[in-house]
Amino acid sequence: MFAGAAQCVTLFYLAERQDSEERDVIKILLLLVFIMVLAVPFYNQAAPALFGFPFFYWFQIALVPVASLLIYIVYRVEHGGEK
C-alpha cells in the first residue's frame, strides 16, 4: 500500500513539475558540447582519416553541426513555442 502511495505521489509530482524539470534537464546537452569539444586527448589522432582529412581535423569540423543540433534541441524544448 505504501509503495502504491509513493508511486502515486511521485507521478503526481512529476506531472506537476514536468514542464520546468524537463526544461532544466535538457540543458545537460549544452554541457555535452563542452565535454566533446574539450576532449582533446580523444581526438588528437591521425586515424581514422576521412576524405583525406586526419581524424583531428574532420572530427572537430563534424562537432560544429552536432553542437548546433544540440543547441537546437535545447531551444525547441525550452522556448520552441515562443515568438
Binding site: 549544452l30 569539444v37 574539450l38 583531428f56 560544429v64
Partner: protein, 506 residues
C-alpha cells in the same frame, strides 16, 4: 599595377560598399540623433540581419589572415580557433538572451551599464568600460593591418589607400551608425562564403586533393605533441585557449553591441543555432594555411618580398594570387578588406557607446542626455583616428602583442558581467578587486612571456599544467571576488543599489 584585374575588381567592391555605408542611414530609418538608434540600430534587427551582423562582427579580417597564418607557421595548435568558435554558442544561448531582456527593460546599451545598474557602482562600470575600450583599440588596429596586407599584396604602395579607406569608414560610421556595418556585413559575408567555398574546391583540386595537402605537412605539426610525463602539455594548452577565448568573445564591446541590437531574446537563441555555420567556414579557412604550405608559395621568388614584409600573414594573400585568376583574387581581397571595415565600424561605435554612457555622462559635470548621440559620434571618430595613428607610428608587432593582452584583459570582465546575469551574490567592490587582481596578474604573466606567448606553464603539486593565461587569471579573479564578497555582504552590503529586479532574470 602589378595585378590589374584583381585591383580593378577590388576597387569596384570597395566602392559599392562605401555607397552602401552612406545609404544605410535611410534603412528602417530612425532618428539618428538618439543614441539607441545610432549606436544600436534601434534594437530592431531580426534573425537574419543579426546573423550577418554578429557573424560579420566576430569573424574579422584579422581572423581570415591570422588563423591560416598560424596554421601555416605553427600547425595543429592554430586549429584551436575551431573548438573556440563552437564553445561561444552554448555561452551565447545561456547568457545573452537574459542580458538582452534586462538591457531592453532599463535602456542599457552597453555591458558596463548593466553592471552599473546591477551594483549601483559607477566605478566598477568605469573599470569594465575602460577595459573594453583599451581591448578594442588594438583590435581595430589589427583590422587595419589585415587590410594593409591585401592592399600591399596587390602591389599598391604606401599608406595613402589605407588612410583613405578608414577616413571613409569614419565618415559613414558617423552618419549612419550601426546600420552601416549591418548592411555591409551582408555583402561581406556573401563574398567571404563565396571565396572560402571556391578555395576549398579549386585549390585542393590543383594540389591533388586534401590527402595530398595533409601529406605535405610536417608530422610534428599535423597533431598536437603528446604531453611529457607529469604534464598536460599541449592538450591543456589547446583546451584552455579554446575555452578562454570563447568566454572572452562576447564580452568585447563590439560583440555585445551586435547582440544587443537584435530585436529580442528569441533572435539571439536562434542565432546560437544558426551562427555555427560560420565555424564550419572558419575551419575550412584555417586549412587554407595548409594549402599555402602545400602549394610552396613560400619559396616562390615573386612572393619573397611579401613574406619578408608581412611574415606568415602573407600566406593567404600569396596563395590567393597564385591559385586564382586575377579577377577572383580581386573578389577574395575585396572580401578580406570589407571584412576589416565591418568589425572596425562596430568596434568604433561600441567604444563610443561606452564612452558616452559609462564615462562622459557619469564623470563629466554638465553632460546632458540630449547631447549623447553627438558625443558618441565624435568619439567614434577618435577611435578610428587613434587606431590609424597607432599603426602608422607603432610597428605592427606591437599591435599584435597588445591584441594578445587585450584578450587577457577583456576576459576579466566575465565575473562582473556574466555571473551578474545569474546571481546577485557578489559585491560590486569585491568584483572590482577581483578585476584588478585579474588584470595585474594577466599582464604580469604576459610580460614574463615577453608579450609573445599566451600560454603559461603552472606548476601545481608536482604537475605541470600549461594554461591560457586569460583562463587561469580569470579564475583567480573570480575566487578573489567571491571570497571578498562574503564579509562585504555581511558588513557593507550593496544590494540596495541594485536597480534591477529578480524577476528580470527569469
Amino acid at each position: 599595377m602589378t595585378y590589374p584585374a584583381a585591383t580593378l575588381v577590388f576597387l569596384a567592391l570597395i566602392a559599392v560598399v562605401i555607397v552602401l555605408g552612406f545609404t544605410a542611414a535611410r534603412w528602417n530609418a530612425g532618428n539618428l540623433e538618439h543614441i539607441e538608434e545610432w549606436g544600436l540600430g534601434g534594437r530592431r534587427f531580426g534573425t537574419w540581419v543579426s546573423w550577418f551582423l554578429i557573424g560579420g562582427d566576430a569573424y574579422t579580417a584579422y581572423t581570415f589572415i591570422a588563423i591560416p597564418a598560424l596554421m601555416f607557421g605553427a600547425g595543429a595548435i592554430g586549429f584551436f580557433a575551431l573548438p573556440y568558435t563552437v564553445l561561444i554558442y552554448p555561452i551565447l544561448y545561456l547568457v545573452f538572451p537574459k542580458l538582452w531582456k534586462v538591457a531592453h527593460k532599463y535602456g542599457y546599451i552597453t555591458g558596463p551599464e548593466f553592471v552599473r545598474g546591477r551594483y549601483g557602482n559607477k566605478h566598477l562600470a568605469l573599470a569594465i568600460g575602460l577595459t573594453g575600450i583599451f581591448a578594442t583599440m588594438p583590435y581595430i588596429a589589427l583590422q587595419l593591418i589585415g587590410m594593409q596586407t591585401v592592399i600591399g599584396a596587390l602591389g599598391i604602395p604606401g599608406h595613402v589607400p589605407l588612410i583613405v579607406a578608414f577616413t571613409v569608414l569614419a565618415a559613414f560610421t558617423y552618419t549612419s551608425g550601426l546600420r552601416a556595418p549591418a548592411m555591409i556585413a551582408i555583402v561581406k559575408d556573401l563574398l567571404i562564403y563565396l571565396t572560402v567555398i571556391v578555395a576549398v574546391i579549386v585549390i585542393p583540386a590543383e594540389l591533388g586533393g586534401f590527402g595530398a595537402i595533409f601529406a605535405k605537412i610536417a608530422p610534428a605539426k599535423l597533431l598536437l605533441a603528446a604531453p611529457p610525463a607529469g604534464s598536460t602539455g599541449a592538450y591543456s594548452g589547446y583546451a584552455t585557449l579554446a575555452l578562454g577565448s570563447a568566454m572572452a568573445l562576447f564580452l568585447y564591446p563590439h560583440t555585445t553591441t551586435g547582440i544587443l541590437s537584435s530585436s529580442g531574446p528569441q533572435v539571439i537563441r536562434r542565432n546560437a543555432v544558426l551562427l555555427p555555420a560560420y565555424s564550419v567556414m572558419l575551419g575550412l579557412l584555417a586549412l587554407v594555411g595548409y594549402m599555402a604550405v602545400a602549394s610552396g608559395v613560400k619559396d616562390m621568388p615573386q612572393f619573397a618580398a611579401g613574406f619578408k614584409q608581412y611574415g606568415t600573414s602573407f600566406a593567404v594573400p600569396a596563395l590567393v594570387l597564385e591559385a586564382f585568376p586575377g579577377w577572383f583574387a580581386g573578389v577574395a581581397f575585396g572580401a578580406i578588406a570589407i571584412g576589416a571595415l565591418v568589425p572596425a565600424a562596430i568596434m568604433a561605435i561600441a567604444s563610443a557607446n561606452i564612452f558616452t554612457r559609462d564615462i562622459y555622462s557619469q564623470f563629466m559635470p554638465g553632460s546632458v542626455a540630449s547631447g549623447e548621440a553627438k558625443v558618441a559620434k565624435l568619439f567614434s571618430l577618435v577611435m578610428v583616428a587613434g587606431a590609424l595613428v597607432f599603426i602608422l607610428v607603432i610597428p605592427a608587432t606591437y599591435a599584435v602583442q597588445l591584441q594578445l593582452l587585450g584578450g587577457m584583459w577583456i576576459i576579466q570582465t566575465f565575473p562582473a558581467i556574466v555571473f551578474s546575469v545569474f546571481t546577485r551574490f557578489f559585491n560590486g567592490w569585491a568584483l572590482l578587486a577581483g578585476w584588478a587582481v585579474g588584470i595585474i596578474s594577466a599582464t604580469w604573466l604576459v610580460a614574463l612571456n615577453h608579450f609573445a606567448g599566451s600560454i603559461w606553464a603552472f606548476h601545481v603539486l608536482g604537475f605541470t599544467l600549461p594554461s591560457y593565461i586569460a583562463l587561469a587569471t580569470v579564475l583567480l579573479n573570480a575566487v578573489v571576488a567571491a571570497v571578498l564578497s562574503l564579509p562585504m555582504n555581511a558588513f557593507c552590503s550593496d544590494r540596495a543599489g541594485d536597480e534591477t529586479r529578480a524577476e528580470d532574470y527569469v
